[in-house]
Amino acid sequence: MSNVAPLIEAPAEATSTRRGFLLRTLRNRPAAVVGAVILVVVALVAVLAPWIAPYGLHTQVGPVFGAPSWRHPFGLDDGGIDMVTLLMWGARVSLVVGFAATFVSMAIGGAVGVAAGYFGGWVDTLLMRITDYFLVVPDVPLMIVVAAIWGPSLFHIIVVIGILLWTSTARVIRAQVKSVRERVYVKRTRAFGAGHTRIVLQHVLPQVAPLLIANTVLTVAVAIFDETALSFLGLGDPSTTSLGKLIENAFQRTAISSGAWWAIVWPGVLVTLIILGCSLLGGALEDALNPRLRVAHLSARTFRLRPLVGRGEDAV
């Protein structure tokens, strides 16, 4: 018996069918519901921002650091621009960065995981060594270095974050692929002479997809967190306004000592909610799919930790 117990207990779950597992997860875990609701609301607001934002994004509607009032419930920023508008657009940019970076990392991590798990042997060893290296390198300093060298643009930020986040996805997918590969029907298909590509696309990927999605949701949380950190260091794209950039801007323009706490508090609250939502939802999904992976969900940022559950052949 392992010394380390499952971290959040959950009812035992059948993970077989893809369809319905999402709903079942939501029904059984209140955490997932909360997370999903937060994300859906924020995503809706972000998508509809250009239409529902009350004022213009660059329109000065009052004095610098105007206090909250009925017309501007969240106050004004250092350019006299309405905070509600800024929050909506900020959420939009933050979510775009989060999803885009996650997409990059999902693509890389998924490919690496599938290749390593499916082919095994020296391919597996090589890819896992590379993964281990990326796992150990401190990500934020590396991001800082690369962003400093390449220059601050949205594209660079997305690529940089994506390139560093794929490792956990790779490991998780690899474990899943390994278990799928051993299944009888796959072996039979091979016996019939089906090509690797066909097997991967038709049999392996569909089994792996739910886990990939769960992992993706968690990665979004990390991506948004990292983007916030990079913006704070002045490495974010200056022509767009992410929530992280809002915090940095207010900070640079002395919001705190000017007493304009609203310029800093609300963007941070929104970021926290988004990250929390992703963590709750992604964690619950991953939990439902594979109880052995429970450790991953708890560390929204450090889920690049080597897993504390199982070692050797059992390692996930």
């Binding site: 650091f65 601050p152 200056p238 640079q252 323009r253 002395t254 000592s257």
Partner: protein, 545 residues
């Protein structure tokens, strides 16, 4: 017995109290002593004058090292370590009489020989370790000290800015620095010059911790005006907010630069906020390389004039700088005193005129309302360095107004090395950009600012690609005109020339804003801030009320 005399008692007591306090304040004796705590968000990057780059470092050197001359309150040259001077041999030889009986803080005598050694050493390694100060000793062949209070400097040609250059030149103790020459003088740069620093000024630097604190103590062996305080400290903060917070909570007595958004807060909290015109100017750069290949319509003076009239300087001052700035008009800011050409005024904001000029140039509007010039849309990337804080808001204002004259602008933010590299690419041929925004911090003497648009500064200081033979001739002439009135005439001509040629569209000249706690007076704000490289007035005069 009548008790009426009792009624007089309070009156007598009051009278006595009043008398004593009146006498007390009547003598108006400034309190001496104490520690003056100053906050900065910038800081001293190095205590080695051959390495340092930051204003705070130069201001430090002003207070701890001897300098031949200083600027007085009217920006005229006043004696400092040099008590008097004269030039001879048609301006090719300058003789300075220096302070007698002066000592370094370690007791060793300070003489003209130290000055001569510093000058000669700076010249000797001008292509290596002392390159940082090489410009200040340009045209000097050598310096000598025939006696301890006489310094003689020999020039190849008679320069026009001798005093302006020496005002920035710090004299170092030979007996300390000569030990650090090392391999081909390289040791001069690697010597950290740690505190306590051997110097000679109103203060001595006794403690320095990078990114944290520099502590200065009154120098009892100083030959000049004694400071009223015992000590002052320069505490470094990593951001403006923390610095303003520290002032508000009385952990500091003054701050060097007040961010525009904090001015009102500090005034309301009872601090004395001083707002004077400064030396920093923001600009909009038009690539003026005559050999430019793309978008040659930008070389057209009418187009440049149109752009100039499409800039709303008043709005930039109000929104970006919150009023703590004034519209700029020339490469030499008005705060340099008589060096600024007073006939030049900020260009008017006139969209109608701008549109007319562009129509006259024949650039009609095309699809989307964007004008077309020589078959290409007038749509440009504007390179902006990320370390100039005022640029993002200013760019938004300009972009919106340019859209109204049919010109489309897109911001391309790069960090300063990358920005400069792109602008000068490939290989310093200045083909890499069309438009950019940046800022310049001028010196009082105009030579430096005037040099940045010379052909010789390609790959050096030039960020505009401007290269004009006529201008270069004027530049060379003012450099070698010892007569200051004649030199001034040339400097004014050069400004007027650039006013029409417009390599830069000057935006705003921002103010120098500092704040001091109510109970301290004398911390004098100047265009270079209260802690500056102009003179030692601020910290020798500051005292508690």
């Amino acid at each position: 017995m009548s008790k009426r005399w009792l009624a007089a008692v309070p009156l007598i007591v009051a009278a006595l109290v009043f008398a004593t306090t009146a006498t007390g304040s009547g003598t108006k004796q400034a309190k001496t002593g104490g520690t003056f705590r100053v906050g900065t968000a910038s800081g001293i990057d190095s205590l080695n004058p051959f390495v340092a780059f930051n204003q705070d470092a130069y201001s430090t050197f002003e207070y701890i090292y001897p300098v031949l001359v200083q600027y007085d309150s009217h920006l005229k040259f006043a004696p400092f370590f040099a008590r008097s001077w004269h030039s001879s041999n048609h301006g090719k030889t300058w003789t300075f009489k220096t302070q007698p009986n002066a000592r370094w803080t370690d007791g060793v005598p300070l003489t003209a020989a130290d000055a001569a050694w510093t000058i000669n050493t700076s010249i000797k390694y001008a292509n290596g370790a002392t390159a940082n100060v090489a410009g200040l000793v340009a045209h000097i062949t050598h310096a000598s000290a025939p006696n301890p209070t006489t310094l003689v400097v020999h020039y190849k040609q008679a320069p026009g800015n001798v005093l302006g250059q020496f005002q920035q030149f710090f004299i170092l103790p030979k007996h300390i620095w000569a030990k650090h020459l090392g391999h081909k003088g390289a040791g001069l740069k690697t010597f950290a010059n740690p505190a306590p620093v051997v110097g000679s000024g109103p203060f001595k630097l006794v403690r320095y911790q990078k990114n944290q604190i520099a502590l200065f103590q009154r120098n009892s062996s100083y030959w000049g005006p004694k400071p009223k305080i015992d000590e002052f400290g320069l505490q470094q903060f990593s951001n403006d907010d923390a610095m303003v917070q520290a002032l508000k909570s009385h952990a500091l007595d003054a701050i060097e630069t007040v961010p525009a958004t904090s001015m009102k807060t500090l005034r309301n909290a009872g601090f004395v906020v001083s707002d004077v015109p400064g030396l920093d100017q923001t600009d909009f750069i038009i690539n003026s390389n005559p050999k430019k290949k793309k978008h040659r319509e930008l070389l057209n003076l009418t187009v440049k004039a149109a752009f100039d009239h499409a800039i709303d300087r008043k709005k930039i001052v109000a929104v970006t700088f919150l009023g703590a700035a004034r519209p700029a008009d020339s490469i030499i800011p008005a705060t340099t005193g008589s060096w600024h050409n007073p006939h030049l005024k900020p260009v008017s904001f006139d969209l109608k005129l701008a549109n007319e000029l562009l129509d006259k140039a024949g650039f009609k509007r095309g699809p989307g309302g964007i004008r077309v010039a020589h078959g290409q849309k007038m749509s440009y990337n504007v390179i902006t360095p990320t370390d100039v804080q005022s640029i993002p808001r200013t760019f938004q204002i300009i972009q919106a107004d340019f859209a109204k004259i049919g010109v489309q602008l897109r911001q391309q933010a790069l960090d300063s090395s990358a920005a400069f590299a792109k602008m000068t690419s490939p290989n310093n041929t200045y083909q890499g950009f069309d438009l950019a925004m940046w800022d310049w911090t001028a010196l009082i003497d105009p030579d430096f600012m005037l040099s940045v648009v010379t052909c010789a500064q390609y790959g050096g200081w030039s960020d505009s690609g401007f290269c004009n033979k006529r201008y270069d001739k004027m530049y060379a002439k003012q450099q070698l005109t010892p007569n200051q009135n004649q030199r001034r005439k040339i400097v004014w001509q050069m400004q007027a020339f650039l006013y029409k040629q417009r390599p830069y569209l000057w935006l705003a000249n921002d103010d120098s804003v500092s704040a001091t706690a109510k109970n301290w007076v004398g911390f004098k704000n100047t265009p270079q801030g209260p802690f500056n490289e102009l003179n030692i007035q601020s910290l020798t005069q500051v005292h508690q009320k």
